[in-house]
Each structure stands twice: as structure tokens, then as C-alpha cells.
Symmetry: C3
Subunit: 347 residues, 3 copies
């Protein structure tokens, strides 16, 4: 076996080429050339769908309607795991159909290409250091002393502050603001409206006003980090706020000053990590979940949507509620509470 | 009856002209010319106020202080319904004073005018298609293949991505980001900092990292949709995320990938619709309310502020709480819970 | 005593100079020149740390690990209060170490300097009024009739709408949007992505659509106000939404139309003040806390994180929960609820 084939990005593929690309087993025969991955409701003969009957990594299994939609769907090829006995069409068996679909879709859907060089409308400081292969799009601002790495892309209207460092192949979408004292690693993606490195919310009452404590630690973001739209990562006070390699942050996420995220942390929409809180590798926060400051959330912890973390969370724990407690206790408490309320009716 | 009069926008009006404009009955006489709608605390003789004693469509009725402020107010004309026995000044009787006030205020407060054409500082791709009556303001970017409809306005510093379509008379405020594969209908308004079409939050763990699933479905927004500031509408995975005609979205709202909003849905501040959730016509979400993904919220459902929708909501239902339940059950449970806590004191 | 010394900003200082600057008492001797304030974990001989054993103004006292870190730390000087018996190195005694640290850090960390004048890439309307000492950075837009005060700074890519007024020495970061009918006072700071003056969320159903009520009151912001990133202050309907002197607003904060904040109000991350709500001087809202509209929150009230204010809050009260109640009642109820759930186990 020589590993994954070397295919031209975006090219239509045979079923055999797809099986090789996703390291799966082809079952059945078809002469069809496939052009994209599609959902089961909209798929046509030249499309590939993915499906499983068992519970997926998000804890969902398909509804009866979804099973029927798969049976009825017109896709010429299906990526399935062993939970699907009869795919009803040629299929490629894989361990993880969603992963295979992502790999295949990444083949078909080549990302936008950007031209190297500086658009004439961009404003770039004389002493900024730009790799010749970087793409600085229209109406961007690159400030004094900033560094833009090889193959990095500022799509348009991006702001890069004084001395900020944008790593190789990192992609910044329109209206991103990178303040001074910020470093982004390689191959990161930051979406529109997100701000990185604004001063943390630190003030001291001086008897007459809230005096700002300077926040000069900046932000250090690792490699392969993806951040959604309109999120905010604040500068640390004296040392950088840290975002580890491979973290993924959704929209409207806030990370306070001096927080430290380990590797591959997941923060869903509107999650908030307060100042000086440390989050271990692989922890996952559901939407609107939040912590108070100065806590530790252990590696691999799972924080339910809208949970409010008021004390340390052990590694590997799953917690829910306000204040957040172990999910099993939370569920027991919910059941008991409903029983108490029901019994109150009888009195 | 010949319908509403044809009045020059912004012109001062007589009481009779106002009655005709809002289809109401004038009671009393006045020679005053009126120049704007005003609140009861700040109104002068040349102003028009609106008032009702009964419960309004938001479920509020005026406090005693607000009634007194109406009695004391100096407005020369009042728009009232039949709940107000004595307006204390000339008045125009209408079924819905707030609606009449909106119609009248829209007469007085002519919106900002924008000059057709492309500001010389804007960066417009050669193959973008701009209607000659569109207004492309300073420092906007219009990317390759984008289409801007008749009378559409990009106020300033707007980003329109490759191939995006902006419908006729649609108005985009500064720092809006429209990604590729996005279509906006006619007469929409999108406020500053809102992002439309960034990739949905879809990743698959490949054993080493969170691999992004390409999100290439885009977003399709209907006509007469208004979106507040710093909101986020994500691109669907394979098919567009849908926002129906006449929806109104407040600030900091998030709509996840593959979600589908029907017509005239209302999402108040910080509401969040998770991925693949379907919301029926006319549903209303209060502030900070949110859903998990893959649910259906029926037409006309009312979701209380901060409710957390964990399962389907029937059409017409009103729900509250976390997890959200029917509002009557929620209120009963709250009462019972308070009684349980009170009784616990006695033990 | 002649008050605080006049020191060159950023200059290294002796311990005696530091004691004079922060109005403290030097204990011990050192010839070291100090160059910055640092946290205890990262401090070196030329750094100054601050520490207290007692509870700080945020209600925190140091953990045992933090005490040990202070003992072990390599800083050459410590700012401490009387709760610290043995500083273990030369120290400056002050009433409030955090305040002394802020004053000292503000000496060392001179803010970015901006050049007066208009960057050639900015687009400034002919009839805008710019003070000659203002700095209009690259790719900013200043609209017709806007006024920019002495020493004010628009860093880059800022939008200032028609007729808006930016006070002296006010600092606007990239991608801030200031709509028309907005006035900012002197020495304010507004961070990236924040929008001020977009129309409040006011619509009236006309039988077919949500008709927008014009929102033409604008926003009036006092002096010394600081606003974080991606926050939203909406325009009032007829009269301005008001933000008093010295308010500090964090990221993702929303202030609805017609709201009125007094002086020195604190709104932490994602807090939301709904329309027409009045907040008294010095009130503090924790993260994600929110109010419904048309309420009054008294001066000095403290609103716990994620509290939901459903009725007026008296001056000086501390409230928590959903619906928010007095913190003492909230805590009692939480204890009673846990007891009820525990007792339910025994049945």
C-alpha cells in the first residue's frame, strides 16, 4: 500500500480513487465520476453522501426520517461504516464516514486562491517585514515592525498592529483586527470581525475612576488555530494570553486576559473563558458556557452548553449546570427536581 | 376614501394630514404644524406623541408615572387608541398607536441619501456587476464576480466576497463582511460588523487534529430582512443557510450552518440558532435564547428570553426555561419551587 | 509634600522614586533601577511585583500556591499592603497594591504615539471639522459634518458617520463604527469592532411585516468612557441613549436603545442592558448578566454574573439568579435546594 493517491485538487474522481483517498473498501461497481460531497436530501448521481446508523462523535444518531432520506437519496456513492448493513448503492466502507467525507470534500472544494504581493490600496509600513509569497489584499493596514510570513493571506481590510507577527500560511479574513504584541502561528484561520490583543478588562478604582491597568502581555496563538467571526482574544496583563496549537473557536467567543488554552481546545459559539483561567488539552466548551476567572479546567473536560464553571474541573470530567457539577449529578438532580415539583402537585 | 396622501417626505404636517396618513380619526382642532414624533417626556407643541393605556403588543402597559407623564406632556397632538378616554389635547384615534407613530416617524425622518456610483477609493473587481444606480461608498471592496443591484448601498468599508449577490435597494453599513456564496434579497439592511457566510463550525477529529469540513453551501437571505450589528450568519455545509423574507435579527445574534428561518422570524439580542435547526414563520426568540442543533421550532412559537430549546417546539407554543418547557408549566414550576423553598424554612 | 514627582514617561526608576510616585513608604534598601511591573511568576530583579494576603477589591485572596510564588519570586521590589508582614525583599507599603501597580505600570508602559494629521489614504469629507492635532489614520472615513477634537486618534479603518462628534483625546481603534447622531466625550477609548449608534431594535407589526420605527435619538457618551471590542450601543428612538462619565464596558456588551447608564458603571463581558433601562452610578454587572427593558437598577447595585434582572433593583443591592433576587436570598435558596435534592435521595 502506498498511502493516499496524489490527485489534482478539485478533479472528479472514480469510486476506486475515492476509496483510496479515504483509505476505505469499495463495495459494488460504478462507472460514475463523482464531483462533490452532498447531503442526502440534495444528492444526485454524481454526488457522494456519508451516513452511519450508529451514534456519531457528536452523540447523535439519525432519526427515522433521516434513515428514510438516505434510503431514498439519489447519490451514486455512499461513505458508510459497519453500522450500515445495506447502503443500497455502491459504497466505501470506512471507520468514520464523517471524517472520510471531510477528506473527500477537502479534495473537491479547493479553497480560494490569493495572489502573492501587496495590493496597491493596502497601507504597509516601510519597516514591516513581508514575505514575498504573502498576499496583502486591498485596503489592509500593516503597521510598523509587523511581520507577515510565507504564504500568509490578509484577504482585505485587515488591520495588523505594530510589531505583530502573522505566521506562514495563516489566513485573516476582512475586518480582523490584530493589535500589537500579538503572535499568530502557522496555518491559522481567523474570520471576519474577530479582534486579537485588545487590552484585557483590568481596572483599579482609584477613588474617583476606574484606572486602567496597562495590559501589555499580548497574545500568543499556536499553529493550526481556527477562530470564527466577531470573537475576542484579549491581551494578557504582563505575559501573553495563550491559545494552543489546533484550538478551534466558534463565533462570539471571548477569551479573557492571561487565560491559557492548551492544544485542540474547542470553544463553541458565545463561550467565554474569563481571565487567568487555564484550560487543558482537548477540553470542549458548549455554546454560551463560561467560567469565572483564575480556575483550571482539566484536559479533555467536557463542558455542557451554558454551563457556568465556578470551580476547578478535573481532567476528563463532564459537567453541566449553574453552578456546573458532574453531568451525572446534574442529571440526577434534574430528575429529582422534576419529581419534587410533580409531588408538590399532590399536596 | 383615496388611501394615504402623497406627502413630500420630511414635510411638516397638519393634524388633518397626519390623520389621513395614519388612517385615523382626528378629534379636536389645532392650527399647529407638526415636525416630528417625540416621547412624552420631551415633547413640545410641534411634536406628536403616541400613547395607550391598555397592554401593547410587547405585553407592557404604562406605569402610573408614565400615565402622569402623558397627562403633563406638552405635545400638540397625540396618537391614541380607544383605551385612552381623554387625551387632554387634540388627538388622532387609531387601532394601533405605535404603528401609527412608526408610519408618521418614517414620514418625518427621511433616511440618509447616498450618491449613486463608485467612490474612487473603493476597490471593485473588473468583472463585478454593478447596477449604475448602486452606491459603492469609500474604501469598500467588491470582489470578482459579485453583483450589486439597483439602488443598493454599501455605505463604506464594506466587504463583498467573490460572486456574492446584493439585491436591489439593500443597504450594508460599514465593516459588514459578506463572504462568497452569499445572496441577499431586495431591501435588506445589515448593520456594522455583521458577518454573513463565514464557514459553519464543522470539524471532524482525525486522531490528531480537528479537520475542517468544507462549508460551501453559502447563505441565502430573502427580501426585507434587517440584521443588527456584530451578528453572524454562517455558511451551510452543502446547501445554503436560509433566512426568510422579513426576518429581523438584533445585535450579537448567531445563526449556525444549515439553519433555516422562515418568514418574519424575530431574533432578539444574543439569540443563537444552532446548526440545522428549522424555525417556522413568525417565531420570536427573546434575548440570549438559544437552541441546540437539528431541531424544529414551529411557526409562531414564542421563546422567552434566555430559554434553552433542547427539543422541538410546536407551532404557536410559548416556552421558557432551561430546558425550555411550555410557559404555563414553567410558571407553575417556578411557583411550586418557591413554595418548596419557603416550606423548607419551616422545618 | 509636593505630590507625585514629574518623571519622564517610561524611564527606569529607583525604589525611592517609585515610593514617591505611588505615595507609599519604602522599606529596605536597593540600588536596583526598575523597568516594569511584572507578575510574581515571571518577575526578575529589575521588576516590581504587587501582592496582598487579604481579600482584594474583586473578592479574591491569594491561594497557598500564589503565596508561595510570591515568596519564591525574583522581583527586586514589591508593592504590598499591611496584610503582608514579611515581603522578603525591599518593599513599598501602600493602602492598595493593585492601584499602586496600575499607577506604576502606567508610568512604564507609555501608550502608542500617533502622528497628528490625516493619513493620505483616509477619506475625509470636505465639511468635516478636524482639530489640527487630531490623528486620522490610514483608511479611515470621516463623514460630512463630523467633528474630531484635539488630540483625538482614529487608529485606522475607523468609520465616523455624518455629524458625529468625537471628543478631545478620544481614541478609536480599527473597525469601530460610529453612526450619525453620536457624540463621544473627551478621553474615551473604543476598541475594535464596536458599533455606536446603530438603530435600536424597534419594530411594529403592520399586519404584513415588522415595520421599523425610526431610531433617531442617537447616543451620547460622556468623558473617560472605555468600551471593549465588538460591543454595541444602540441609538435611542427619540432621545439619545446615554453612557455616563467613566463607564467601563467589556467585550460583546450590548446597550439597548433609550437606556441610560450613570457614572462609572461597569459592564463585564457579554452583559446586556435592554431598552429604556436606567442604571445608576457605579452599578456593576457581571459577565452575561442582563436586564429586561424599562427597569431601574439603583446606584452601586452589584449584579452577579449571568443574573437576569426582571424587576427594579434597589440602590446598593447585590442580586443574583434568574430571576435575580437579593444575593443572600439566592444563596439561602441554593443551600435549601441542595438540601431538598439530597433529602429526596433518602426517600
Amino acid at each position: 500500500m502506498s498511502g493516499r493517491p496524489n490527485l489534482e485538487a478539485g478533479a472528479a474522481l472514480t469510486a476506486a480513487q475515492i476509496a483510496a483517498l479515504v483509505s476505505g473498501q469499495l463495495e459494488g461497481e460504478t462507472q460514475q465520476l463523482f464531483t462533490r460531497v452532498m447531503d442526502v436530501l440534495h444528492a444526485a448521481a454524481e454526488h457522494v453522501v456519508f451516513f452511519r446508523v450508529g451514534i456519531d462523535t457528536m452523540g447523535r444518531s439519525p432519526s427515522q426520517a433521516e434513515v428514510q432520506a438516505f434510503v431514498d437519496c439519489k447519490a451514486g456513492l455512499a461513505l458508510v461504516d459497519h453500522s450500515v448493513a445495506h447502503a443500497g448503492r455502491p459504497c466505501v466502507r470506512v471507520a468514520n464516514p464523517a471524517l472520510a467525507a471531510a477528506i473527500l470534500a477537502r479534495h473537491f472544494e479547493a479553497p480560494q486562491k490569493y495572489v502573492a504581493g501587496v495590493h496597491p490600496s493596502a497601507v504597509v509600513a516601510e519597516d514591516a517585514q513581508l514575505d514575498a509569497s504573502a498576499s496583502i489584499g486591498p485596503l489592509c493596514v500593516v503597521s510598523s515592525g509587523a511581520k507577515i510570513g510565507a504564504g500568509a493571506v490578509l484577504v482585505a481590510q485587515v488591520f495588523v498592529g505594530p510589531g505583530a507577527v502573522i505566521g506562514a500560511h495563516t489566513l485573516l479574513f476582512p475586518h480582523v483586527s490584530v493589535y500589537e504584541r500579538v503572535t499568530l502561528g502557522t496555518a491559522c484561520v481567523v474570520h471576519s470581525g474577530t479582534t486579537i490583543g485588545a487590552p484585557g478588562f483590568g481596572y483599579v478604582w482609584d477613588g474617583q475612576r476606574h484606572l486602567p491597568m496597562p495590559q501589555v502581555g499580548g497574545v500568543r496563538i499556536g499553529n493550526d488555530v481556527e477562530i470564527g467571526t466577531n470573537s475576542c482574544i484579549d491581551s494578557g496583563t504582563f505575559q501573553p494570553t495563550l491559545i494552543g496549537d489546533g484550538c478551534i473557536l466558534d463565533n462570539h467567543v471571548q477569551v479573557g486576559h492571561n487565560a491559557e488554552l492548551g492544544r485542540a481546545v474547542v470553544l463553541c459559539g458565545k463561550a467565554g473563558i474569563s481571565g487567568s483561567t487555564i484550560v487543558g488539552d482537548g477540553a470542549v466548551f458548549g455554546g454560551q458556557a463560561a467560567t469565572v476567572g483564575h480556575l483550571t479546567v482539566g484536559a479533555g473536560a467536557k463542558i455542557a452548553a451554558r454551563a457556568a464553571i465556578m470551580k476547578d474541573v478535573p481532567a476528563g470530567a463532564t459537567v453541566a449546570g449553574f453552578p456546573a457539577v458532574d453531568i451525572k449529578q446534574y442529571q440526577r438532580d434534574q430528575i429529582k427536581l422534576r419529581r419534587l415539583l410533580r409531588d408538590a402537585d399532590k399536596k
